[in-house]
Subunit: 215 residues, 2 copies
DNA sequence: TAGATTGTTAATCGATTAACAATC
DNA sequence: TAGATTGTTAATCGATTAACAATC
């Protein structure tokens, strides 16, 4: 553990969650051993790429045998940091914030939701899976008191930058941003974006392109 | 219009929504002209890359001047197919489905939501922005009657593949999938995924890696 | 005209794929 | 041992960056 993977390219890193998911599926199907060739057929990456990717983190396989599914699943989980827990808050307790609060992977993989925050008096005081929706005014106080590590922005885009700055000033370590803006925070704070509209626009592009080709 | 961009790489295509967003911001700030160098400073791509990207679709710029923001915004919108409208349904009317139904970009850019579908009797009969939540049993009938083009999967992962097949059999053209599985449908159907858990795991990775480096 | 900036070609860089020796 | 499959190097492919002539 605690090895340094900072030389591994983000292209490889961004494939890890998919390996993790497919290995979990295999375990649930009681498959305990797999070769890069078989995994390739399932996951759609080339066998060569799979071997290259996994080798960035150490030799998990065995010549003539393949990979132990359980072991590989656990190792990739550790590389992704899924063996740890993180404390989180959600800012914006509307549908999207509530959806995230109830999202199974979020709950399952050690992301501990401490509270949700909103400015809407109708929401403040409510609970989402037993977790309070609090007044946004108390954000900073709450974060420092509860040592919150991750802030999840589910607000409208107009206030996302301001919320991000308040999170940054409160010393969260990371931000998971769902607002369709590129927030600016000091570079020591990790930001991961989910830009829904970009994904939607790509779908639109692909549909449109197909129509153009077909006349 | 109706030009064939099938030779343009997906790496370029996936940057278009970001150009579109920044150009919109510029227009709102009443900036009507911009050079690749200035845009580079805003958006974070190199000026060279910006010129290369835009040139895949034709010469929108003018030597010595730069790009007309309004024109470029409109052109990229057209390339992305945002000048058209698409009819859509959402399957799964829980928090996530409702969040998508209310998502501003979704409403604004011509994605017409015709109905939401669920199996939960408590939800069926309700309305989300005046749009009915209907019984999933009527999905196929409704799609063919209303010529629905896009199905949006907001169900739990366990039923996502089945829903995808029902959408495919009903001849939707595209699927926007939020379930954390890779759905399998005939290749003429466009699928665009939003894998929230993958994004979350990358955040976890980056936080964890940073901690490892700092000891 | 002189200055600015594009469009476009060439050079570089990085990521993917192929090949095969090592070895279980 | 023979067969299978990894780990790893080398070859290929594609994407990004640099450079500069064209031109507004």
């Amino acid at each position: 553990m605690n090895r340094d993977f900072s030389n591994v390219s983000m292209a490889v890193i961004r494939r890890l969650p998919k390996y993790h998911r497919y290995l979990k599926d295999l375990l649930e199907k009681e498959v305990y051993r797999i070769s890069s060739r078989e995994l390739s057929k399932l996951i759609g990456f080339t066998a060569s790429q799979i071997r290259q990717d996994l080798n960035c983190f150490g030799g998990f396989g065995q010549q003539g045998y393949g990979y132990n599914v359980e072991e590989l699943y656990q190792e990739i989980g550790k590389i992704l940091g899924l063996n740890k827990t993180y404390t989180t808050v959600i800012i914006g307790a509307g549908n999207l914030g509530q959806a995230i609060a109830n999202y199974p992977s979020f709950i399952k993989y050690g992301f501990k939701l401490m509270g949700l925050f909103d400015i809407n008096p109708k929401l403040i005081g409510m609970k989402i899976r037993d977790i309070d929706i609090l007044d946004l005014d108390y954000l900073e106080e709450y974060i420092s008191k509860n040592k919150v590590e991750i802030g999840i922005i589910c607000t409208p885009k107009e206030v996302a930058q301001e919320v991000a700055e308040r999170l940054a000033d409160s010393n969260v370590k990371g931000i998971w941003n769902f607002a369709p803006v590129d927030i600016k925070v000091p570079k020591e704070i990790i930001v991961e974006n989910v830009h829904l509209s970009e994904s939607l626009f790509i779908l639109s592009y692909l549909l449109n392109e197909k129509e153009n080709l077909q006349g």
